[in-house]
């Protein structure tokens, strides 16, 4: 029997369509915020306040001519952007948005690990996309992507485990529903935001996109629909990263519910919390300069990795001797 409700959840709400429009909305928020900080007006033509500009840009790119340079590895060049986009969307489906994740019964013990793995795979596909484009700028740009995410994945995983350890669970829905862990591990929240900036390749860590050095980075040879999907993948990554922060540290979609409309209020809280994270992240992006690749790596191995380890140790110690004996932060049923 075809479960129409499940199909609706996957395709429309809170699945594909909702996530897609949420992504475009977050893109607009980022652009508008950056513009206002920089004394510009930002997008303002398409829709009220330019809110449809990201959608317009996406559609415009879809209509552009699609050029494939002769020396590219066709298979990877064509499908890597699409595959990266699909995987990011799939990873989003595991996040509880309206109280439950997209596939209501899809959450399982350990899904935190698998969505982090999906994010890594998506990054690797982006690297392949640049590598296959047979262009020195693309090659250098994607080598930088690889260097950066391989390094920053380790502190990211360690920091993601900090709330997981206090909650005593590695299931996202459980972590999100048990407690807003920013209160119990604020240091981990700050470190996680910084690591997320690096993972998402935003300033001060956006060396793979440094146009004054590597032109377009891995996107240099991409045009048309493929470029549209590369851009969309990056936007979904931003939403995914922010959503992960929301789920792990800000209590996910949980909040007060009125009139029994739990799905509406859960979604509302989720989007509001997401916007807070997006604004923090974009604010950091706007007020700093880009670091150099060696400084980015030094920051990773000499500062963030030890800090992440210390954060985990502190979380373990606090959870064992302080939080758990008083019943704070423990997930139900652990």
């Amino acid at each position: 029997m075809i479960d129409l409700w499940l199909i609706f959840r996957i395709l429309v709400f809170p699945g594909f369509t909702f996530i897609l429009f949420l992504t475009l909305f977050c893109d607009w928020v980022e652009r508008k915020l950056e513009a206002r900080i920089q004394n510009r007006v930002g997008p303002m033509v398409a829709g009220p306040g330019g809110i449809l500009q990201p959608l317009a840009d996406f559609i415009k790119l879809l209509t552009k001519e699609d050029i494939e340079p002769r020396d590219t590895k066709k298979l990877v060049f064509r499908y890597a952007p699409l595959a990266a986009f699909s995987i990011m969307m799939f990873a989003m489906c595991f996040l509880p948005i309206d109280g439950a994740s997209v596939i209501s019964t899809g959450g399982f013990s350990g899904d935190l690990i698998i969505i982090l793995a999906f994010a890594t795979i998506a990054n690797f596909l982006l690297f392949m996309a640049g590598w296959a484009s047979a262009n020195p700028y693309g090659t250098i740009g994607s080598a930088r992507v690889l260097t950066q995410f391989l390094g920053y994945d380790i502190p990211l995983y360690l920091l993601a485990l900090t709330p997981a350890f206090i909650a005593g669970s590695i299931q996202i829905a459980t972590i999100a529903s048990s407690f807003p862990y920013i209160l119990l591990a604020p240091w981990a929240f700050i470190l996680f935001i910084i690591t997320m900036q690096a993972e998402l390749e935003k300033d001060p860590f956006d060396v793979p996109h440094s146009e004054s050095e590597v032109v377009g980075g891995l996107e240099t040879e991409y045009t048309g629909a493929k470029l549209a999907f590369l851009h969309l993948t990056r936007d979904v990554q931003v939403v995914f990263g922010s959503a992960l922060v929301v789920e792990l540290f800000l209590g996910g979609p949980n909040g007060p519910v009125f009139f029994g409309l739990d799905w509406l209020f859960y979604t509302l809280w989720f989007v509001l919390k997401l916007l807070i994270v997006v604004v923090i992240s974009e604010y950091i992006t706007t007020v700093v300069a880009r670091l150099r690749i060696d400084q980015v790596l030094t920051g990773n191995w000499k500062i963030l990795l030890p800090a992440a380890l210390l954060s985990l140790i502190a979380a373990v110690a606090l959870a064992t001797w302080v939080y758990h004996p008083f019943g704070i932060g423990m997930a139900v049923g652990v």
């Binding site: 880009r290 150099r292 690749i293």
Partner: protein, 523 residues
């Protein structure tokens, strides 16, 4: 050694009557040194004064001979070493081995006049297009530029990437980091730069040659077109050389108005670069802020000269437009507003941590190298060389206006940008002083259209550094030769040196700290 007489005595005692010294012509003196003596004279001068360097090398067509004039600056006085070579066999000894800063100047003279510098031969073209035929030298008088038959574009060398881990990255002619077309082939080993090969001349317009077939009046407008950003200083440099030959009594009010125009120009040029540097290191907010605050300065330029960019205010014998007294309060209020914002910007450039990470210890140019390469302007002053032409050889009204010479000793990108940051404040002071002490009287005197036979040089401090003009007149209303040496042309060799051994990521931030202007470089 800061005295012209000392230097002349030294040279006379050393070379006796093998050289001729004409005191007083071309600033401190012209030294005629033929038969390879130019090399020894320059060597003696460098040994006597560490600040000796070559400002420019002018090539001239003198009929059956080619003149090679080495314009030499010392700590204070300015000399010209004149050498001549027969046109049939134009060979002269290179001075690159004693003064590496002469490299580009020699190559340019080779390309445009066919003088062969033994020891520094040119392969292919340096500033001319690849389509330009070999053996046709455009600055020789017998070449009619309209009749030159261009050759087909030569076969391009296949990109040789090989040699292990070495990868060649081409920056330019079209590249997001360069706003103007110029090519730098950067060879990198991983992320480390091992070699930089420049190719300039993509926007060469032959302004020096064009100037020879136009009247002095028209040339004033022509030389402004050398560079859009720093156009008044080009007009002033040309006009001041002509005025040195003509000797009109330029009214004092005109000199003050010229200073106001030049300093407004320096102000907007420095703000442009300070913002552009932000763009190069991925600091877009900095860029937007600086360019926002630059707009009122552009409005002032429009207010005083009539146009935002090309005011064409300065002309032979004075300025074309007087300052309206009603505008003075507006000028002062805009400058005062900007002065209020200065502490914020200065703090930002001095202390912002990510900016310091990207600029501190990047592209370090030591004082010795700066002297050897004859770098000019903020690049030299960032390396501890105190050479501000406004101080060392005051022109216009600068000797009457108090201002500080900004010198930093670090020699890195950070120091070069902070020189500009501090000069912004000095420029505001100068403009305010000039507006307050504006003499009364006329702003222009009538000058004859024809200029008597003679020659003159003029060194002025453009926003990007020392700008040099040499004008030779022949008694008609058109100049015989106009030589322009722009600051970026003198500063590029320093980039070729400092980029080696640094990360490719430092190339943009290092390069932008020279405030490069390729439109100037190519003329």
């Amino acid at each position: 050694m800061s005295n012209a007489a000392d230097m002349i005595n030294l040279l006379e005692s050393k070379f006796g009557d093998r050289i001729q010294i004409k005191q007083g012509t071309l600033e401190a003196g012209a030294i005629i040194a033929n038969n390879g003596l130019h090399y020894d004279v320059l060597k003696a001068m460098i040994e006597a004064d560490e600040k000796t360097g070559i400002t420019a090398i002018t090539g001239l067509d003198l009929g059956d001979k080619l003149g090679v004039y080495y314009h030499v600056h010392t700590a204070k006085p300015f000399f010209t070493i004149k050498a001549e070579v027969p046109k049939a066999d134009p060979k002269i000894k290179t001075v690159v081995d004693i003064h590496p800063g002469a490299l580009f100047h020699e190559l340019e003279v080779t390309d445009l006049l066919g003088v062969v510098f033994v020891g520094n031969e040119l392969q292919g073209h340096f500033v001319l297009s690849e389509n330009w035929p070999d053996g046709v030298y455009p600055l020789r008088k017998d070449v009619d530029a309209t009749k030159v038959q261009l050759v087909p574009t030569p076969e391009r060398e296949a990109n040789k990437n090989a040699e292990g881990r070495q990868v060649k990255i081409i920056i330019g002619p079209q590249h997001p980091a360069l706003l103007e077309p110029e090519k730098f082939s950067v060879t990198v080993d991983g992320e480390i730069v091992t070699k930089v090969e420049p190719r300039i001349g993509y926007v060469h317009r032959g302004i020096e040659k064009t100037a020879e077939s136009r009247s002095y009046l028209k040339d004033t407008y022509l030389v402004e077109r050398v560079c859009g950003i720093c156009n008044p200083i080009h007009a002033y440099a040309f006009v001041s050389t002509v005025e040195k030959i003509l000797k009109p009594a330029v009214p004092e009010r005109a000199e003050y108005l010229r200073v106001i125009a030049l300093e407004l120009n320096r102000l907007h040029s420095h703000l442009l670069t300070l913002g552009h540097a932000g763009l190069e290191i991925g600091y877009e907010t900095l860029f937007q802020y600086f360019w926002r605050d630059r707009e009122p300065i552009m409005d002032l330029i429009e207010l005083t000269s009539g146009n935002r960019v090309y005011g064409s205010l300065i002309t032979v014998g004075g300025v074309r437009r007087d300052l309206n007294p009603e505008h003075i309060p507006k000028i002062k209020s805009v400058l005062e507003d900007f002065r209020k914002k200065m502490p914020f910007y200065r703090k930002l450039y001095q202390e912002e941590p990510t900016l310091r990470l990207r600029m501190k210890d990047v592209g370090v140019l030591t004082r010795e190298d700066a002297l050897k390469l004859s770098v000019v302007g903020p690049v030299a002053r960032g390396s501890g060389v105190d050479m501000d032409i406004r101080k060392t050889q005051p022109y216009s009204a600068y000797d009457e206006i108090p201002f500080k010479q900004i010198v930093y000793t670090e020699g890195d990108t950070w120091a070069r940008m902070n020189v500009r940051m501090d000069e912004v404040e000095e420029s505001i002071n100068i403009i305010e002083y000039a507006v307050d002490h504006l003499p009364s009287g006329p702003v222009r005197v009538e000058v004859p259209r024809s200029v008597p036979e003679g020659e003159a040089v003029s060194s002025v401090e453009a926003p990007r550094g020392e700008l040099f003009y040499y004008v030779k007149s022949n008694g008609t209303d058109m100049p015989e030769r106009v030589k322009i040496r722009t600051p970026t042309f003198a500063n590029i060799p320093s980039f070729l040196k400092t980029a080696i051994g640094e990360s490719i990521a430092d190339v943009p931030s290092n390069f932008v700290s020279l405030d490069p202007c390729f439109s100037c470089t190519d003329r």
